[in-house]
Symmetry: D3
Subunit: 208 residues, 6 copies
């Protein structure tokens, strides 16, 4: 029989070697350009690596009839420093994920069920639109305007993943109409009519 | 009425600005450390960004009762240079995705349906195992040994994404037993018994 | 007197060491995710590293009374692979650089002369607007919507730099109204009125 | 009239998503390999993104008749984590920015007014020197020795940008002669004469 | 004689410029995805940059007759943030560094003395094995299974370097047999026989 | 007995998955910012991964009594794209590796035998010098001026590694005196005396 007892001397040396396999975020800790400080490895459990928050449908009883449920660092601290994250996208019939960008990540969408028309516009102004069915995937390059809308009479579900734990999310209408960016500036920089801007500022709660 | 005609002068200047929004792979082209040469943008269509190959179940009528269908650069050239990719994982009841690593990417798994027991082992030798149900996600940090097995009496389906278009896939048993790595080297470096190595070399078609 | 003759033996060895100090783009060559293939070092001259195209004012006799002159890889091949580029921004009185993003880079603006009101909107929808005078700099984080407008009765000039040789440029109005993205999709995903969309499609030459 | 009230449910979800659009440095906070800890987003204002310190000419009443005014993280905390920074370069007639390197960034120089002779030496020992006039830009690849000298009878002004918030600055003469690096080591490793080394150590305040 | 006195005005400005030349780890400080917080530069001395722990042979009086002595961040804090580290590898005659991976780095091995048979297996299952003698170097790409064994009747010594300060180290046998990963899971995911698994779990102290 | 025959169906799928484990340089192929085009994997052999060129001492019968033998991409194509390389450093008694920088990499030095005094100067002008003996390692941060000199009456040998396959090498004296950079420019930008510059230009073969 082999005596591997001595092998442990190597093992012991190894355990002194701190590896950076993962860095589960300490959301109360320091936040840096590379992400959050790490929770001590001794406090990390299997549960940290699993997130069940995408299991339930988001509430689509709203005007856009859509819901986006993120699993970014704030919701799922295990992805801190790992360069990946996800979100769940629910679309009721007629649902719309409005025109938006992710400033910090490329997105890959997978249709779990239903039928979704999705598209993005490139820097050179070309339009890429496709209608996706169950099992299709589509990629949306980093930082480009894109959207998803229901193309089904039944609920649609998609799971999207990002190559960053903090992809960001800039929804065009919110950026233009739901804050205190003065209407005059919006109009000058978008060529939208005053009435249009004021109308959308009104419904979205923007001021100025 | 506004005359935006002159705006086009800006537009024209802009179209001379080559952006690198995406780089759909020319699989017949040059391969470099950053990926494949790009297909000319003029030949890129919406269809390039959609991949339907994950829509159909893989064939699980094999001994592991599992199938992995990749959407890496080779299958889905649009992800070239975009830092993301995906794969479909089908598990029949009793199915197993054997112990493996992805040398080049972190993996994020989403359970579409069924029930899957998954786990990984860290550099400091800790084990993180969980049983996942529909809608759960789990993250497997880059380069670490991990596995997935069916925990259901019905077929299970998961979609995994990676933060690289070329994550790589090193299946432990194939690396050890399905090539010409001499049995004596396998035995010395894994402490497996000669009979065990020869048996698995036999069934996996390895030599030496 | 020292005889450094033999030092040349070291020098000679060194010249066989290919360094990657720079990679002036061969714009006719292969394009990859990391940029263009490099022009042979033997053909690179001092002139390659200098670009004079930002010396002359762009033509602001257009409806936006503004002009953007880029020095990206296409205009200035020396920046290929070096992670930096620049552009010149001319604003006549009343001039506007419309709402836009750079999907691939952070921008730093320096006001050479004049007075410019500039701003950006963050992912969490906050607005950061400032009026800049000669010598001021302002930073616009990667991928976020931003704009610049003249705040002077005289011409204003700014030089912007980017931390990528290919920052991209997505002008909101062009992305929405100057291509064949169907009006119905624009309306559904932006909540703009049909009349507004059709009007801007009209002046910007969009179809659909 | 549209009721977008419900859209806010999506907005509210979104605001829980921490994005990493920017990370204004907390200069009193932790310093890590990726930069400083971030100031809380709630304390960030528009003013943080603007820096006026490059607006005034540096004092060139010194022996080199030149002044470099940096806008790196220490002066301009907004660039922390954003991969960009800037500096102002004033050259009186006869002014010289001595031979130096930036170990951590590529530099791009823009001549605001005046006339500047600038150059760098590559790893393969080639010399690239050019005389630049108003509006010219020149790029200096990361880590290479370079210099700028006045080529005008009037003051010259240049703005330089870097693709790092912490480019570093190693001035050759200071590195060799303005510290306690022993003269004997300087002489052995540079082949400069003892008298030359001692003379420059003397005027630059070096010891040893 | 030159009066360089005024040069100091430039110098003084420069010393206010914090560079990030290095970031010696404060091992008691915050740990982030980019590494440890930096020790204040004022407390950094020459000694921090030198590590003598690889000077003495590791103890090879163990069953594998091999010892690996790391100089990773934990042992050698100067490499924090610098993207490099090293280790010493001692092999007695018959010594074996068992099959393992480094999830976070490529390894380059240099044979100081002796004779070593080393190899790795690629993602596409190809085997690359070579016997190395004094002065040879061999590279092991990131994340792939590899091993080293003595090919000499005398002690062998190798120095390995990694392109990360935290390369990680996952030893196959420890990952499978030296923890509480249930035997049934090991067997299902590796196809090893129950007796084999139990035997190795026994000698390596694993449970389950 | 297990029938693993069907496992091959998975294997076959896998082999269609191109991984980017490595990218042995095709030195006759395209050169890009990320390195050389890859040699086809089918032509890669074990021999590609081994380099014996560091096994023999460099010729130190020169004025600096030192020799640097690189194993960069040009000599050792296997490191292309892998982020690592090495070099051998031979120092006769009295030998000197003159003041130099590596613009593209951090260096880690290991003393194989002998005694070496090594040092570097930081951006903030601090000097870090140490005398190293057998087995010591020392790290030289990217882009900073550094040197190594013999501190022994016998030959010394060091192996250095870099975290780039193309670290570059800029030797101060060659950059200043061994090319056609005009003496007047050298003098103005280094404050060296005319006689000193002319003398070194003379021995190093520089012109101008």
């Amino acid at each position: 029989m082999l005596h591997f007892f001595f092998l442990f001397s190597l093992l012991l040396t190894s355990t002194h070697v701190l590896a950076q396999d993962f860095c589960v975020a300490d959301l109360e800790g320091v936040f840096t350009p590379s992400g959050y400080a790490c929770k001590p490895e001794s406090k990390v459990t299997s549960d940290d690596f699993v997130f069940s928050g995408l299991g339930a449908a988001g509430n689509t009883s709203n005007i856009i009839q859509a819901a986006v449920s993120p699993a970014f660092t704030a919701q799922y601290p295990a992805v801190n420093g790992l360069g990946i994250s996800a979100a769940r996208l629910d679309l009721a019939p007629g649902g719309v994920v409005p025109m938006h960008t992710h400033p910090g990540a490329t997105e890959l969408l997978y249709v779990v069920h239903g039928r979704i028309t999705a598209g993005f516009v490139s820097s050179s102004n070309a339009v890429y639109v496709e209608t996706l069915t169950r099992g299709d995937i589509m990629v949306f390059p980093q930082g480009l305007l894109h959207f998803q809308i229901s193309a089904s009479k039944r609920p649609s579900l998609a799971i999207v993943s990002f190559n960053s734990p903090l992809p960001g999310l800039q929804i065009l209408d919110f950026a233009l109409f739901a804050n205190d960016l003065p209407s005059s500036l919006v109009e000058k920089t978008t060529f939208l009519d005053d009435a249009q801007v004021k109308k959308l500022k009104g419904v979205l709660g923007g001021t100025g």
